[in-house]
Amino acid sequence: MIPKLNLFTLAFLGLTMLSSGWSLVDYSCRPGNKGDLANHLHRISGIQPLLSRSNSQSQTLLVFYHPHCPCTKATAVNLKKILGSKSGELETYAFAYCPQHESDSWIASALTSTLKDEIGATIVLDRAGETSAFCGAKTSGHLLAYDDQGALLFSGGITSSRGHEGECRPASDLLKVINRGASETRHWPVYGCSLVPSKEQK
């Protein structure tokens, strides 16, 4: 004779499993918000001082991230793989979100170190997310790739879901773009923490 309590418990746990599993999948696969994208690099005022020092013949990759976002670690891992396979010149700038009233050291994190040391990105402090907001990046892990003329080639995340590293179509597309293999702009969803404070979400 099977105890009824066990059966009820099993049923409860089964339902919990299904519902929480589905919620987790849904959460992980729900992309973040995007703003109005900057279609041309030269229109991004905050980045001009940096660009003036760079090679005008190279492509430009902008990474907008939240230094403490765990989901963007997957973006960093994928980006590291992509950049390891690039063939042309590429200047990478990582815009680290920093709240208005926090010190600059707030952006110090494992993710920042990865972007800086392993990927070779130039870390740019994005106070209160003004630059990211200007470029239309509202979610951590949003990447914008521009050609040497400053035209937007790629916009979006390079993970298949939130914090999910590994090969995926957006990553492959970015690699193709930076290897000058495509001419049209590609847009991909971004999975990560929000760069916009909650009161500004909407």
Partner: protein, 662 residues
Amino acid sequence: MQPSTHLWSKIALLNTNELFADRYQRECERVNNFMVWLMLGQWIAGIAFSLFYSPFTWIGQTYALHVHVLAAILLGSSISGFAIIWVRTFPRASHSRHVMAVCQVLWSALLIHLSGGRIETHFHVFASLAILSIYRDWRVLVTATAVVAIDHAFRGIFYPLSAFGIINASPFRWIEHAAWVLFEVSFLAPGCVMLRNEIYELCVQQTKLTEAKVTVDRKVEQRTSELVAANEMLATKTREAEKLALVARYTDNCVIITDEQAHIEWVNEGFERITGYSSEEALGYTPYALLDGPETNPKQVAKMQNAIASKEGYDLEMIRYRKNGEPFWMAIESRPIHDDDGNVTQFILVESEITARIEAELERQKLNEQLIEASRTAGIAEVATGVLHNVGNVLNSVNVSAAVIGRQIHESAFEKLERVSILIQENIENFADFVDHDSRGKQLPSYILKVTDVLKKERGKIINEFEDLLNNVEHIKSIVSVQQSMAKSKGLRQKLCINEIVDDAITANKGTLSNHKVDVSKHISDDLPEFVSDKRKLLQILINLIHNAKDALVESQEANPKIDIHVHQVDGNLELDVCDNGLGIATENLSKIFQHGFTTKKTGHGFGLHFSANVATELGGSLVAYSDGLGLGTTFRLTLPFNDTQLKSEDAQASMATGLLL
């Protein structure tokens, strides 16, 4: 009864399967316990994983607990809890393994997810398959594979973004993921089968060992029981040997053991007591050389020696001599002792002194002889009694006949004829005148004629009586002859007509019957055949019965004494009833009426009916008496067989005769 080989094989197969099932079940329970701990460990690891990789989720400068942490706690606990409760609820069910496989694969998915899809974490899937393979059930791996395939297929088809990160992924991409899992399963599954087979083979071996042990135990038990039985038998034999030794030592009989040449090898104390020879004195001698003497029968000694020479046993009773020369009788039983090859190696003699018995036998023999002599005398007396009884009966008739003849002679008309003769002599000279003129002379012729008539009648009567007398004398002769023949145990069977026999019997009693005015009537069926029997014996029975009936009528003083004799055939037998209306027999005496010496008559001997009944039996028939009581008459029924083959043998008659003699 031992089971057949085929049955043993079936039993062994059942035992092996049972053992394998039991062992596999215990193995599964052990793995289940391990999996329970693994589930708990994975839950904790999942929480730690999520806390390490993604503790918080950020929105600008604000942060909150990451959904992964919540998922690790909630989803992880539901997966592990579901698996744990399931195996605890169904600990022995095979589906518990499959549920555990499903949950383990779900844990792989969760951990992969919590680790951000790290390629390293994907190895958890393969590790899980390896872990699940310790169930040694390839179907569990199939279930796990199916879960992976179904998960990817479902999400690939209905929610490709969650599975492959793109919306327009190929709907068959899940096959690639499932194929990799299947790849590993294709190696693990044969391993499971192999391990399972190895366990089964171990069970087979263990079953064989168990069976061998059981067989050995059974044999040991059997041997032990045989040894115990042998020990008990040995103990029994030892006790018997001890008892036999006691018997041989303390018996009053001589016990002698000799070699095959009859030389004494051992004697018991009884030998020493009886013969007076010590054991040392007897050793080496033959028993007959040591113990025989002048009165020992040489023929018996020769017989003894012949038996020894032919290696055979013998039983003898003979005279032997003690050491002091005193003769005594011994009963000797000699038996040869054979070795395993059947050769006689020894003789054992048991000798008992029978002097007292022999003397008693001699005394008894003497007494027997005296008894036989006394019996013979008594037998003669009994025969004489029988003869005298029957002869006495006939003599009564003879006496009656003689009396009738005497009275007839005494009252004869001769006296008148004599007076006629005297008258004629007195007148012889003038006899003519006397006849013509004398008044007496004139009556003389007519007187003579009358006397002559009377004499004629008297002569007829005398002749009749004389014939009866002769018949009775002849009967006496026959009685004596019958008694003689009985004494000689010889039968005199002949064809008989019952009518004549009945007439003879009535005739034999005629005088006494007529004296007492007894009316005798006979009723004999016409269809009676002739039959074979002993006429004289049958006649004796009938004479006795009629005589007894007459005596009963006389004693009863019946006014109309009568005897009815009925003869007819019943069931192939001759049935002869002698009925009288005389004194009758009391009921309590009916059973004793045929006993020797029993009589109800004042002058009886108690022999006649006893004798008659014996003779009836001797003739193959029976004699029974019927009476309704005193004063109601008696019927004696003699039943005889018509068939000669029903007659008893001469041996039976001889027995009867001998019985009569004794």
